[in-house]
């Protein structure tokens, strides 16, 4: 017993180290790939050594903020997805399926039209929209037991509804393509202001999630067990919902609605390291960052030299996985 626990923790450590290496390599790759070719070693070197060259300027003003946005958004979305899946005990729960992304997008686009653009106001609107979208889907899908199918269908309908309203706003204001581009989920235009906008929310949200990861594990066991263990269920639910809103709202505000990260990552993590949320949450953050950083590299390649929105890449990666889940979900019932 003791032995196997020790072996598990050492294998987790190994996994963490491997993931970290992949992550750092991804960062280097992300910094080096692009219209101007810079080697991975050089690009990592430029982070620490200042020599004022053109390459360094490209990295520090264009690529580094973008890479950091990828890290923050990927980690935030993945943790939000893991929390959602724990809370609803539904394998398909994720910011995209739950209408949270679409709600946040609608409110952000509406706010851009009504108010002059300011990064913080759009974050606040994103929170409100995320809350609205999530609440609608939750209300509809949870009546009479939330099955994956019902969640997916009501999420899809709410998503179509909200995104149609968003498109209507875009058309009525004749604000053009950049908004459409943003709506597919893109991080290639990111700058330091975006990093400053998302970083506090992302750090606080993930930090809180890690602090309460024990309660999240208990929540995943179901209502009766949790009550038996003396947990205040409603308090925890409200707290976790808030964390989810902070994480996904801030992500949408800076990067647009990027899909499938929150769905995909927690499943992979649980498969690799088990159900304990003390481990699932930090690993989800790391894997989410990895996924988005590599997806961003791919996004630069598929239509080279043009940039593509990273949301397209995550959708293409995520769909086969979603299909797999859908098939598995059938057997689970």
């Amino acid at each position: 017993m003791y032995h196997s626990a020790k072996r598990r923790s050492s294998s987790r450590l190994m996994m963490f180290i491997i993931a970290l290496i992949i992550f750092i390599f991804g960062l280097g790759l992300n910094l080096s790939v692009g219209a101007s070719d810079i080697s991975i070693i050089d690009s990592l070197k430029y982070l620490f050594v200042w020599d004022g060259s053109k390459e360094q300027l490209i990295i520090s003003t264009l690529r580094l903020p973008r890479t950091l946005i990828g890290v923050f958004v990927g980690a935030s979305l993945a943790v939000a997805g893991a929390l959602m899946q724990a809370m609803t005990r539904n394998p398909l729960a994720s910011p995209q399926i739950f209408g949270v992304n679409a709600g946040a997008s609608l409110f952000v686009v509406a706010s851009l039209v009504i108010l002059p653009a300011s990064p913080y106001s759009s974050v606040i609107f994103a929170f409100a929209g995320a809350a609205a979208g999530g609440a609608i889907v939750y209300m509809i899908a949870s009546s009479g037991g939330m099955t994956p199918v019902k969640l997916a269908l009501s999420g899809m309908a709410v998503h179509l509804f909200l995104s149609s309203m968003t498109q209507a706003i875009i058309i009525l204001n004749e604000s053009g393509e950049d908004v459409l581009y943003w709506m597919t989920g893109a991080i290639d235009g990111s700058n330091w202001q975006d990093v400053i906008t998302i970083a506090p929310f992302s750090v606080i949200g993930i930090g809180l999630a890690l602090v309460f990861s024990g309660s999240v594990s208990v929540l995943g066991l179901g209502d009766e067990t949790a009550k038996g263990l003396g947990q205040n269920m409603n308090g925890i639910r409200i707290l976790i919902s808030l964390i989810i809103l902070i994480l996904s709202g801030a992500s949408v505000a800076v990067a647009g609605p990027i899909g499938f990260v929150g769905l995909l990552v927690p499943h992979i993590v649980r498969k690799l390291i088990g159900e304990h949320y003390q481990y699932v949450l930090p690993f989800s953050a790391l894997f989410g960052a990895i996924l988005l950083v590599y997806a961003d590299v791919l996004a630069r390649w598929i239509a080279f030299p043009y940039e593509s929105p990273v949301g397209i890449v995550t959708a293409i990666i995520g769909t086969p996985f979603f299909l797999y889940l859908a098939r598995k979900g059938r057997n689970l019932k």
């Binding site: 009546s143 269908l153 940039e307 979603f322």
Partner: protein, 333 residues
Amino acid sequence: MKKTTRKQKRPLLAILILAVILIVLSVISIGIGALYISPDAVVTNLLGLDHSFEFIIQQYRLPRIILAILAGAGLAAAGAILQGVIRNPLASPDVVGISKGSGLAAMAVILIFPESPVYVLPFSAFAGAAIIAVLLLMIARKKSIQPSSLALSGIALGAVCHAGMQYMMVKFPGDVNAALIWLTGSLWGRNWEEVKLLAPWLLILFPIVCILIPKLDLMSLGDELAQGLGENANRLRFILIFTAVALAGSCVAVVGSIGFIGLLAPHIARRLTGEKAKYLLPASALIGAIILLIADTLGRGIMPPVEIPAGILTAVIGAPYFLYLLKFEARKQ
């Protein structure tokens, strides 16, 4: 006997009323737009007694209205057939991703081969729809097409096609309006060209549907009964799905992937006429035509000269109804 007659629906009367509504709506719809034309002026113009608005009516409004009626009817009929064959109330070209597939194929042809003749369009759209349908049947396994796995797989395939369309939009940046036509579906700028494109397809397909109507009733009884009555259930299913895919594909080729019509029209029709295919199909087609006509008219009329794509309006109207259906179905179970 009397008890049943009181409850019995009057399908023929319902179809007649729907047809009258459609005609009245068409006349009103022709009048609405940047320049308002009163209904009696529309009628006198159409009858050739007056020529004052001939150019606007003949060249702009009439083809558009004909197209709305044809496409709405086609999409709704496709939905009714799919729901009958798959015996799943949620099956419809849009929910199962067929609309998105044909939208993607049509968009690809238009953007990548702008030189290609127009009549290629329906074929490519049909090919896209067929690919999605085949994938779907493969994933959902032929023997046990369960509602849940079918809907989930369809949502996933739809998502990947949507991502593909967004990629096209980014790769070939152009008019935002044109891009939205393919993403949401719209009748913007459609004229006799497109009517000529769609009409022959429907002229071939609608008679085929009429021949297939009695078979559809058989299929809804279940495979065993259909087989017992001397039908090859698998072949019949294939023919019916093929017809539905062709209907949906040819409509999407012309008006884009307009959502919710194929889903909602058969549901509303079923309430009015009951389950019998010989009433259900015509009623669905009429209701589909009415929905698309209303959506298009509203889109033109709300704030001219800006037009809201019809697909946005069908989603805004259709999604809440779909959610209501979901909730209602849940309560029944």
